[in-house]
């Protein structure tokens, strides 16, 4: 987990992202990853990408998260991570 990188294309440039957290969900049959290129948004906040991927196919299958129940779960997970980190 530590020092794992995802490389993305951003504004025509290749950018390395640190993987921050991962988790699985037996209900959605997917895994999820949170990663960041350590860039900041216009509001001064740090950008974190959260995507889902197929735990079997793995490589190159990152997908948008659009399902509301998935978002609920991510919400729960982030709260849990935040709480445990304190």
């Amino acid at each position: 987990m530590d020092n794992e990188k995802i490389i993305i294309q951003k504004n025509g440039k290749t950018v390395e992202c640190d993987i921050l957290f991962t988790f699985d969900s037996p209900d959605t049959e997917k895994s999820y990853v949170g990663y960041s290129d350590n860039s900041f948004g216009s509001n001064g906040r740090k950008n974190i990408y959260v995507s889902s991927y197929d735990p079997i196919l793995g490589l190159g299958t990152l997908e948008d998260i659009t399902d509301e129940k998935e978002l609920e779960m991510i919400h729960d997970v982030l709260i849990e991570i935040d709480k445990q980190s304190k």
Binding site: M1, D2, E4, K5, I7, I8, Q9, K10, T14, D18, I19, L20, F21, T22, F23, D24, P26, D27, T28, E29, S31, V33, G34, G41, S42, N43, G44, R45, K46, I48, Y49, V50, S51, Y53, P55, L57, G58, L59, G60, E63, D64, I65, E68, K69, E70, L71, M73, I74, H75, D76, V77, L78, I79, E80, I81, D82, K83, Q84, S85, K86
Partner: protein, 1019 residues
């Protein structure tokens, strides 16, 4: 149709070629003049000519390409022309049909090609020139009629298809809009840490729900259109087929369709007869449809003998109901299928409830038997029915097929039927038939009760048939295997950043290999659960209205006792909600019409009254208006009454009905206590075997009630109740009783109030006491005069506190609970900082802050444990252990404070002569050694126990000396002491009560007794 070429296009091409030649000529001429003109001018002119050549050449190429396509089309047109000629010369009608189809197909192909390949202006002229539109027009029109492709139907289908395309386009556009909106939101960076995330989450969810709703509506519309298309296309095809085929037999298409319909039904009859194993049935079919009188009786007799023989082969056990007290109708099947007034006199006895365990053959035989009986006239009515017509047979077959379809519901859900009981039931019924003429007979019609043939158990058994839904189906998605990078954990801990969470995937170039995880087993499980939910939902959607009404009216009263699991309850809840809202919409529409009627009448009356007051209107005329006035007023009182009654009906459907249903489902899902018991976990899998048995008993009971069979009703009731009791169990553990069975049976109707749960109630009441002490400590120290008034106020406050907490927990408001937890962590952290920085000892913090540091953190910690327990996240054992831990920690904290602060107090006391240091030390020691003093005081205040008297003077005297301390010290000491006392009190009380088995009540005891008695009665 002599010219096949597009003259206009040829003319254009010719012109273009000429232009091209002229341009090349100009170019040659220019080249020859190159030496006499300026090079610069030459190049410019040559460039212009080249451009012109290029342009003309391009257009020419395009036109030549079109010309090639036209050549191909012309070839097709020639072929069609040949086909048309062939069609005209052909005499064989069948071959003519084939030809006409081919002509139409090719004509359509040509037209399509023209519009696809040829630009519109040429296509038009092309069609004119080669006369494609008119090609075989007469024949085509004729063929259209032959094939039954009525323009109207085709047009309708076409329109539907266009509508579908428009809808699809709308969906795509809407999705684009939503996507853009989403991007906008994301660019604004709505996410931060928890609070901002919550805000974003709420607004996103709202938007998402709205999007989904709109998309769903569009999709539904699309589905509807597709359905119409499919139906109409089938109609067109069927009709085409009918017309073609009907020609072969020289009959009308209508007649042909009717024949096909009858043949289908006849096949159905034949199928059933074959299943009766009566050998070759073709003759019998013939007999049924054209029954010769002499064979009819013989045939009917054969069937009867066959069936009776089958019945006799069964082992008939001793009759359960030896002397029926009342009557049952003669035949169970007829009870379900025949109209109410129909009395069946056949002695053939057939069980009413089909048996899932029994072979399907048997079920079919039973159905077929009825069918045959219906098809063959009854013996005594032969003379009337001997001339059975095809139409009569049709009607009977139609009726039978409908009956079979309707009874599928019952049939599919009955299982493991006890054959012995069925035999008993048959015998019982037969006896009743025999007794039918006795003087004691009661009229069946009079004894019928207004109940249905089945109830909610039967319906739910149908819904879950073959699925075995599990308890966790339909719940929130779960996350597992959470892994966090240490760097991120540290970053969160530092609190240095706020975050935007973006859930749109950027362009990924590379992902590490070790992202591949193994969760195949979990995937399978989850997929199954989803499929189950989907299937149940589909079945619910297809449920007839009357069944949904049964669920609404009956199941809502049994949600808590059935324990079907949250997924199933959620789906049933959704369906019931839709049903109720639809029903209310209907009532509201009725109300609108009635209101309209009322106001129209009033306006009319006003108009008439004006006329009646008009002196210029003749008396005769006035009399006419008076009569009219009476006429329009007639029945309006009933109208008003019906408005009131409609309104009440709609309101009760929503408020007490639907709302009550939803509340019961919510209470069940939250697993909070009802009637004194907390549930253990809901059974993981639904026991469908048990459910089927219950469904069977339910039907038996309903039938008995409906037809006034008192004893059978009673027996079925007792059996069903006993079954429930048998499957209800309570375990006596060291922490009291808990419901652990598949069912939670209670013969009494009780309100579902979580705070009747003694465990939760005790925790909350203790916390409420703490709140009261908190108030009093700040108001002053042990003001005896205030105690009584505080008691009164506290009683009121406690009730409110219970209600508020009830609302919080039963509503499972996650946000609030999470907020409480977060607050607790924050408080804990702040407490650590204060102690760590020693600001507390330096008296820098305000009294309120210092006190709250201890008080709130302890209270929140206890609340958190209670919440987790209430949500069934932890067991009672764990809850008690955690409470004990808090108590222990608080005690340690108190001791530490006293130990550390006493050295500081020494300095303080030296500068404040009024402080009795020795007394303070003694008081502190007392507090440390007797933290229960305040607990006892709480009890006295609440008048819960008689402990109040114990603490009366000695404790007050000992603690009272601390009043001389500065506020901060005093608040800190009492805050810590009170928190310690609270934790100790809660922990001790809960342990003691649990050991006494306190957490149960007399109602649940009654259930046990009842179940036991029912069991004895059965034996």
């Amino acid at each position: 149709m002599e010219t096949y070429y597009n003259e206009q296009l040829l003319e254009i091409i010719k012109q273009e070629k000429e232009n091209l030649d002229k341009l090349y000529a100009r170019k040659n001429s220019l080249q020859q003049s190159r030496n006499v003109i300026l090079e610069e001018d030459y190049l410019a002119m040559e460039g212009r000519i080249n451009k012109e050549i290029e342009k003309v050449q391009s257009t020419l190429n395009e036109h030549q390409k079109i010309l090639s396509s036209i050549d191909l089309i012309n070839n097709d047109a020639k072929t069609i022309q040949k086909l048309v000629e062939l069609y005209e010369s052909e005499e064989d009608s069948q071959f003519k049909d084939i030809l006409s189809k081919e002509i139409i197909k090719r004509k359509d192909d040509i037209e399509e090609k023209i519009h696809q390949v040829i630009p519109e202006e040429f296509a038009r002229t092309l069609e004119d020139s080669i006369n494609i539109r008119n090609l075989g027009k007469e024949e085509v029109e004729k063929d259209s009629k032959i094939l039954g492709l009525e323009e109207e139907s085709r047009q309708y289908v076409e329109n539907l298809k266009k509508t579908r395309e428009n809808l699809e386009q709308s969906i795509i556009e809407m999705q684009k809009i939503f996507e853009e909106e989403r991007k906008e939101v994301e660019e604004q960076g709505p996410f931060s840490t928890m609070e901002d995330l919550d805000n974003f989450y709420a607004s996103y969810m709202q938007k998402k729900i709205e999007e989904n709703k709109r998309l769903e509506e569009l999709k539904k519309e699309k589905e509807k259109i597709e359905k119409y298309i499919s139906i109409n296309e089938k109609k067109v095809n069927d009709r085409s087929n009918a017309i073609i085929e009907s020609k072969k037999y020289n009959i009308s298409p209508d007649a042909y369709e009717e024949i096909v319909d009858r043949v289908n039904k006849r096949d159905e009859v034949e199928k059933y007869l074959q299943q009766l194993e009566l050998g070759d049935t073709s003759d019998k079919i013939q007999e049924i449809f054209n029954p010769p009188k002499e064979k009819m009786d013989e045939y009917r007799k054969k069937i009867k003998e066959y069936l009776l023989e089958k019945e006799e082969q069964k082992n008939i056990l001793p009759m359960a109901y030896e002397k029926p007290a009342s009557l049952m109708p003669v035949e169970q099947n007829s009870l379900q299928q025949a109209p109410k007034e129909e009395k069946v006199s056949s002695p053939i006895s057939i069980p009413s409830v089909e048996v899932e365990d029994a072979s399907s053959k048997k079920e079919e035989q039973e159905n077929t038997t009825d069918l045959v009986k219906e098809l063959i006239p009854q013996q005594e009515n032969v003379s009337e029915n001997k001339n059975i017509t095809l139409n009569n047979v049709d009607k009977l077959v139609d009726k039978k097929i409908n009956d079979i379809k309707e009874n599928d519901l019952v049939k599919e859900n009955s299982s493991s039927h006890n054959e012995e009981e069925l035999n008993n039931l048959n015998n019982n019924l037969e006896e009743k038939v025999e007794d039918n003429n006795t003087p004691n007979n009661l009229n069946i019609e009079e004894k019928k009760k207004p109940v249905g043939d089945y109830g909610y158990k039967t319906i739910i058994a149908k819904l879950v048939k073959g699925l075995k839904p599990e308890e966790k189906d339909g719940k929130r998605y779960r996350a597992s295997n959470i892994k966090v990078a240490e760097s991120f954990r540290q970053e969160l801990k530092s609190g240095n950043y706020l975050y935007n969470i973006v859930h749109v995937v950027p362009a990924i170039i590379k992902i590490p290999i070790n992202f591949i995880r193994k969760s195949i087993a979990k995937r399978t499980f989850s997929k199954k659960a989803k499929d189950r939910m989907k299937t149940i939902k589909e079945r619910l959607d297809q449920l007839p209205e009357k069944d949904v009404e049964i669920l609404f009216k009956e199941y809502s009263n049994h949600v808590e006792s059935e324990r079907y699991g949250s997924g199933l309850n959620m789906l049933i809840g959704e369906r019931v909600s839709k049903y109720v809202h639809d029903k209310v919409d209907g009532i509201n529409n009725r109300l609108k019409e009635k209101y309209d009627d009322v106001f129209k009448t009033v306006l009319e009356l006003d108009g008439i009254d004006e006329i009646l007051n008009d002196k210029e209107v003749s008396e005769e005329r006035k009399q006419e208006f008076k009569n009219h006035r009476l006429q329009i007023l007639n029945g309006k009182a009933n109208l008003v009454a019906s408005i009131r009654s409609d309104y009440n009906e709609a309101k009760s459907l929503l408020s007490s009905g639907l709302h009550g249903f939803e509340e019961n489902v919510r209470a069940t899902d939250s697993k909070m206590s009802y009637i004194g018991y907390r549930f253990a976990k809901t059974p993981k899998k639904l026991d469908t075997k048990l459910l089927n048995k219950e469904a069977e008993l339910e039907q038996k009971e309903r039938q008995a009630i409906k037809y006034g069979n008192d004893e059978m009703a009673l027996r079925a009731f007792v059996e069903a109740e006993t079954l429930m009791s048998k499957n209800t169990s309570f375990r006596n553990g060291i922490f009291g009783k808990r419901s652990t069975g598949k069912k939670y049976y209670s013969p009494l109707a009780e309100a579902l109030q979580y705070r009747n749960d003694p465990f939760v109630r005790d925790v909350f009441s203790t916390i409420a006491m703490f709140g009261a002490v908190n108030t009093m400590t700040h108001a002053g120290f042990f003001n005896a005069h205030k105690v009584q008034s505080e008691i009164d106020q506290m009683t009121v406050n406690n009730e409110k506190y219970f209600r508020d907490m009830s609302s919080t927990i039963t509503g499972k408001e996650n946000a609030i609970i999470e907020g409480m937890k977060a607050q607790h962590y924050l408080d804990s952290l702040n407490a650590g900082n204060i102690v760590g920085n020693n600001t507390y000892y330096g008296l820098k913090s305000s009294t309120q802050d210092v006190y709250n540091t201890f008080a709130n953190s302890t209270k929140d910690a206890i609340t958190e444990i209670t919440t987790k327990y209430a949500e069934n996240k932890i067991s009672q054992t764990v809850a008690l252990k955690e409470l004990a831990d808090i108590s222990s920690n608080s005690q340690q904290q108190l001791n530490d404070i006293i130990s550390h602060s006493f050295s500081n107090l020494t300095n303080y006391a030296s500068k404040h002569p009024n402080v009795d240091l020795a007394g303070v030390k003694e008081a502190m020691d007392y507090l440390s050694q007797h933290p229960n003093a305040i607990t006892d005081m709480n009890k006295a205040i609440a008048d819960i126990a008689d402990a109040g008297e114990k603490l009366s003077h000695s404790s007050l005297d000992k603690i009272g000396v601390l009043n001389q301390l500065p506020n901060s010290y005093r608040a800190a000491l009492f805050g810590a002491a009170t928190a310690t006392a609270l934790a100790m009190n809660v922990s001790d009380t809960m342990h003691k009560n649990a050991k006494k088995g306190k957490y149960g009540n007399e109602v649940t005891e009654l259930v046990n007794d009842y179940a036991e008695k029912a069991s004895h009665r059965k034996r």
